[in-house]
């Protein structure tokens, strides 16, 4: 069911199996649980060493929750999050001990979305970037030295370390966030929409920096984004999420050229194209994103799908291979000829 990586297990750093994260809905004076929000409902992912996997979907589709579950941010409801830790070997983050998780955090880090909220305004850059070092017992001048190196690595002047976050622009702050994530030389970094809060001109700079760092340190990225155009630039594979489920997963080029799921097609049609003569009709999705607390019957996407047939309303499709390495969760995947876009040159 998962995306196979041909090179075998050792090239894989992260394997998520049937991840489920359900949040209780509590009501009333005694906070009785009256229902569940199925934020993540059976997600399978696989990420190879030094590879980049994009995780794409609309707001509220569960991509950020997935990312946070992978780093032990929540007590997951069900499923396995297998991480290939260089020291501990394969560990399941979903059922790991606190001490082991502490060790895993040295190798799995995150870059958060909001460059303004993610840096403590009361700490200097030295303290922010140096916090992971301090937590792991690196102090004093050694820490200062490391922070200086990290800052030059992400394109900031080391002298800036005595400044506070309010002295920096959004792009610079995100660089500080990246420096902090890299402080302990992790193997895998989860990028939780690292550029969506930034100006378009700055976005490219940050993406280039991320690619550069990947080449240099062999980092594996799980890249969460809500726009496909950002992802095309940097990802080897892309997984598209809709209401807590992966609906399509394929190598980037393949997904762009020939999407197999109507939702992916709609997302692709919304990507802005620079050539005015090559404008495809944008598919505007009708209706709202399904409510994860009260999902529709059958295929979750059928109320908004323009190809939906009776079967879609009744039966929930499985994620199944369409071609090699291309997985899709749609009854009609083999019958439809969906519009793609030519993948931009990576």
């Amino acid at each position: 069911m998962t995306a196979q990586t041909p090179a075998g297990t050792e090239a894989t750093i992260l394997r998520v199996r049937d991840l489920r994260m359900h949040f209780p809905i509590q009501k009333g004076f005694l906070r009785r649980t009256v229902g569940w929000i199925k934020a993540v409902d059976g997600v399978d992912l696989e990420l190879g060493r030094g590879q980049t996997l994009g995780l794409v979907g609309e707001s509220g589709c569960g991509k950020t929750t997935t990312a946070r579950c992978i780093l032990g941010g929540y007590e997951v409801t069900d499923g396995e999050i297998l991480f290939n830790d260089p020291e501990l070997g394969w560990v399941d983050i979903a059922s790991i001990s606190k001490d082991e998780m502490f060790s895993v955090r040295r190798n799995a880090q995150i870059i958060l979305q909001d460059p303004y909220g993610s840096l403590n305004p009361r700490m200097t850059v030295l303290d922010i970037v140096g916090e992971p070092l301090l937590i792991n017992g690196i102090r004093g001048s050694e820490r200062e030295q490391r922070v200086a190196e990290l800052l030059s690595l992400v394109g900031l002047r080391p002298e800036y370390m005595s400044r506070y976050p309010h002295a920096f622009s959004g792009g610079q702050r995100q660089r500080i966030g990246i420096a902090r994530a890299l402080a302990l030389q992790p193997q895998m970094v989860i990028c939780d929409e690292p550029v969506s809060a930034l100006d378009v001109s700055i976005q490219a700079q940050i993406l280039n920096l991320l690619e550069e760092l990947q080449d240099r340190f062999g980092l594996a990225y799980l890249f969460v984004a809500h726009q496909l155009n950002v992802v095309s630039h940097i990802c080897d594979r892309v997984a598209v999420m809709y209401v807590g489920k992966v609906v399509e997963s394929a190598p980037t080029g393949q997904l762009y050229d020939r999407p197999r799921h109507p939702y992916t097609e709609a997302l692709l049609s919304s990507v802005p194209r620079p050539d005015p003569r090559n404008q495809a009709d944008e598919i505007v999705l009708e209706g709202e994103v399904a409510d994860p607390a009260n999902p529709p019957s059958g295929c979750l996407f059928h109320p908004r799908c323009r190809y939906a047939v009776e079967q879609c309303r009744l039966e929930e499709p499985e994620l199944r291979p369409a071609t090699a390495g291309h997985f899709v969760r749609c009854h009609l995947a083999d019958d439809l000829e969906l519009m793609g876009v030519s993948a931009p040159a990576a």
Binding site: R105, L112, S118, T124, I135, E159, M161, Y164, A167
Partner: protein, 375 residues
């Protein structure tokens, strides 16, 4: 943190200064722009300085009556004697009885000027009840003459000395009361906000219950419950606790609210993902993020405490004579006779208003300065 920071780069020009300024420095700069708050802060500092050194500042013992000066009006400080410039002095009073109203009237004896001196010998006292002394900040050169800058009360006691002595009790009740309710509020509010769930539910309902009780009757009941045979100092702490019982609820709510808000901040999440321990998150991230806000809230609470003590003592259920507090002093001027003939006895009221207003201005200034969303 700062020691390390300093070695890296000395602040050079203005922008550099701004860039390397901590939140505390930014807050100080913003506060300094609020002129009313700065002035108020100085006034408060003045009153507290006075409260610390009342025995020295007050020219006389506040409890020694003087039959020759009952209800004497405030004396004027003069500079001209017989048409010539003289160092600051006062004229003493000679009293006579008004033949019509049969009231004592005071006239200035313009024959003999009594120069004012600093650091004079006067009534002996025990500073803070510990060290003997008899030096006072100011007084008359002639130990037999009297200076009453705020007049005297019905027993001929110096009002200025009484107001000054009252400062210590009244201002310290505000301060100690706030510290006490801060301790309670931070503990219960922090527990409530941090653990959430049933604990939170229980504490919040308890706060609502306490807040739904009418405040004044609650104070009255509690202070009436203090045993009458208690010493003045025991009563003093008893009253402080009574006032704090109600006041902590507001602070607990503020702390809980801040905890709930900060817990969801991305930088707290980031610290958690870095593997920071709960202790580190609480003391390195949560607590520093709310101290400035908390200080502002506390500053706005102190005047409420001062007023609460005044109100209780005024009704007669708080502190009682011979303890001198502002509330006790105001309780002395409850009758129409004083209003009509001795308005100087209201100087206590003026002090209360000034201090409360200054606290409110300072609190406003601090709150605005601590607000991270104003730029």
């Amino acid at each position: 943190m700062t020691a390390e920071t300093m070695t890296v780069l000395p602040a050079a020009d203005a922008t550099e200064r701004l860039d390397t300024a901590s939140q505390w420095q930014l807050m100080r700069w913003r506060f300094l722009r609020h002129k009313a708050a700065v002035v108020s802060l100085f006034v408060i500092a003045f009153f507290y300085a006075m409260a610390i050194a009342v025995e020295f500042v007050a020219p006389y013992d506040p409890n020694i009556p003087n039959v020759f000066y009952q209800y004497a009006p405030p004396m004027r400080i003069r500079f001209l004697h017989e048409g010539r410039l003289h160092r600051p002095f006062t004229y003493d009073y000679v009293q006579s009885r008004d033949p019509k109203t049969l009231r004592m009237v005071f006239a200035e004896d313009e024959e003999q000027p009594h120069p004012i001196r600093f650091w004079v010998k006067g009534d002996p006292y025990r500073f803070w009840g510990l060290w003997r002394g008899d030096r006072h900040l100011f007084g008359l050169e002639n130990p037999d003459a009297r200076i009453f800058l705020l007049g005297t009360d019905e027993l001929g006691r110096d009002m200025l000395s009484r107001v000054v002595y009252g400062t210590r009790i009244s201002l310290s009740i505000g301060f100690i009361g706030v510290i006490l309710s801060l301790a309670l509020g931070v503990l219960l509010g922090g527990v409530s906000g941090y653990f959430g769930g049933t604990v939170d539910l229980f504490i919040q309902r308890m706060i609502e219950l306490l807040q739904s009780l009418p405040q004044i009757p609650l104070w009255l009941t509690l202070s009436a419950a203090l045993p009458r045979e208690w010493t003045a100092i025991q009563i003093y702490f008893g009253i402080t606790i009574v006032i704090s019982v109600v006041a902590w609820t507001e602070i607990a709510r503020v702390v809980r609210g801040r905890f709930l808000a900060l817990r969801e901040e991305e930088f707290v999440l980031a610290a958690r993902f870095l593997g920071a321990s709960e202790t580190r998150i609480i003391f390195r991230h949560l607590v520093p993020s709310m101290t400035s806000h908390l200080i502002a809230v506390l500053t706005l609470r102190i005047p409420e405490m001062i007023l609460a003590e005044t109100a209780l003592s005024f009704i007669g259920l708080g502190l009682q004579a011979p303890v001198v507090s502002w509330g006790v002093l105001l309780a002395d001027v409850q009758n129409i006779r004083t209003v009509a003939s001795s308005p100087w006895l209201f100087s206590t009221g003026v002090c209360i208003i000034v201090v409360v207003l200054c606290f409110n201005f300072t609190g406003d200034g601090l709150r605005d300065a601590a607000d991270p969303y104003t730029h």
